[in-house]
Symmetry: none
Subunit: 195 residues, 4 copies
């Protein structure tokens, strides 16, 4: 009885299958059958493990968020051990985003797809807002030396928007990682100078 049921394993397989599917087709055109085939699971089982197709997506978003949140928390923890200067802190946050998020073209593509769904789907919208608030918040607290200020908030927002834009372009024009990083860093250096 103690043995972990296969359920969570299958749910992960399905999420991963959705991820791979979203690299090929928009969510709205991806059928339950296709996700099932991608996961190597009978399509009816997707309704066994999840309430609905939407439920898969929502769960997928949650896990995506948790994953990157975890990575970022770990990153922050390691950084803190080194007693960083304010500038080091900002640079570190930026480098985390550059490395793990904005230059990950697959992730950007999938994220973009989720954005598109979010425009018309309330639940997805709510989740995405939460994610972006967290993202902007993290940047803001890295940027602002002491306490929050409207300027820092706007700057954080602008920074994330910029990353967003670059991320989309990097997918769309198929930039290589080096070039994307270069574009990002040029902007980030300005931010740091301003600080």
């Amino acid at each position: 009885m103690g043995r972990k049921p296969i359920k969570e394993q299958r749910r992960r397989e399905i999420r991963e299958a959705l991820y791979r599917c979203l690299l090929k087709k928009p969510y709205g055109e991806t059928s339950i059958k296709e996700i099932g085939a991608e996961a190597g699971i009978n399509y009816a089982m997707l309704h066994y493990y999840f309430k609905s197709k939407e439920d898969i997506l929502l769960n997928f978003i949650d896990h995506l968020f948790e994953k990157y949140n975890g990575l970022f928390a770990e990153h922050t923890r390691l950084l803190a051990e080194r007693n960083p200067s304010p500038e080091e802190t900002v640079r570190s946050v930026f480098s985390f985003y550059n490395e793990h998020i904005t230059t990950d073209k697959k992730l950007q593509k999938v994220f973009f797809e989720i954005w598109a769904v979010a425009l018309y789907n309330r639940k997805v919208n709510a989740k995405l807002r939460k994610i972006y608030r967290a993202l902007i918040g993290a940047v803001e607290s890295a940027i602002s030396k002491n306490g929050s200020s409207p300027q820092a908030a706007n700057l954080a927002l602008a920074t994330v928007a910029f990353h967003e834009g670059i991320g989309i372009f990097s997918v769309f024009f198929n930039f290589n990682k080096k070039y994307t990083t270069m574009l990002l860093e040029e902007f980030q250096n300005k931010i740091i100078e301003m600080g």
Copy 2:
């Protein structure tokens, strides 16, 4: 002779209907019947005026591009009459984008929708690339005083990407025009200082 004004008129009505539809639902969920109803035209006629549903979208994108291209050309023409300084030129280009493109939330929403289709649809992708190349090109030539340089190209790209990101955020978080403009201008001032 040869002019078929009714046909072209109908085609425009259908394009406009698609525009209004895309404000309500993603392209993939918008049915031919809905577009027809929105246009006040029998749905079967959409296949008379256009080859397919995709054809409507492609034509819509073309006309969107032409429209803003025309507006921009006119804007440029008027500007040229005043013999602007380089800085005036840049400011003018920026103000055009701010005013007509990035702060137009409806346009941004529709554009975003097209982006989403473009990720997986080759034809739409090709059209969108063309548009963004033109956009970036226009910014680049405004920015660079004499001849093109890699720096100017990158800067133009980053600028457009930033606009893109802010545009999406403005839709998503429902910014008002004033706030969006403020965010944009702060960035643009930096660009100009750098110039």
Copy 3:
């Protein structure tokens, strides 16, 4: 333009197909495809002519009600011309029900099926209540010579309930019309004696 569109014709064909289907299977087990096949119409057209499967049933009930209401109104009109005595009136109402409703085994079967759906479906329930209120009301006004009385109301209700019971039994035990009529009339004679 004056020509009656095929729509109402098709809708009737579909209603009639549903009627025939309900003689073979309960509503819940009858699929849209089967109704379509029975009507000789592509199954997708059922959603063209009706909003949903439920919509077909509701429309069917409406038409059933109107049909018998019309027949009864006509029956009543003809009767009135003959200046009937109170007893004649009651007998006439009874004979109408005997002839057109309770001994029509197909109708009884279908009605029974609708009852079964009505137990759990609010909309169907509402329609059926309306029908039975009308039925009981008609019997009541025939029975009560002057004004309504609680006794007459109860008697009318009991009468309709009895018909209902006999109707179901006639289907279930496959009574012939003569026998069913005999059972009904014996009861009806008692009612009339009591009057």
Copy 4:
């Protein structure tokens, strides 16, 4: 030996669960999983204890019949001890039906549901016929003082049909027990007078 009390216990729990389920939904819409959940038994076990979903229903009907048969036998036995007059016998039978069957709205609802299935399912039909034959027979033998006569048979049939009709109406219009009983007794008194 040979007794498998757990097995029979489980079978009863499943039957009782079916009973409760049929109060909520028609048989056709009730899933094996729902019955299992209602019984607190793993759904796969229902196929261990019964051959199929239909088998559960058939067994349920059998037990329903046996239960009321038993109750009625006991009722009859107690009555016999008092050496009742013919009229007392009839009244007693009627009061049994009134009390235990026709005014039990839950039972009526479930019975009605079974009727609906019986219309199209041979096996269920056969069981239900048996039950009603027994029911009518019991009424008939109570009614007829000496030997059976066609009149008594018809009267018994009509009586049961009437009860059936009132039972359905009581569920449908949600009569309270008092009112239902009143309707029944008025009719029953007529029967007794006729006797």
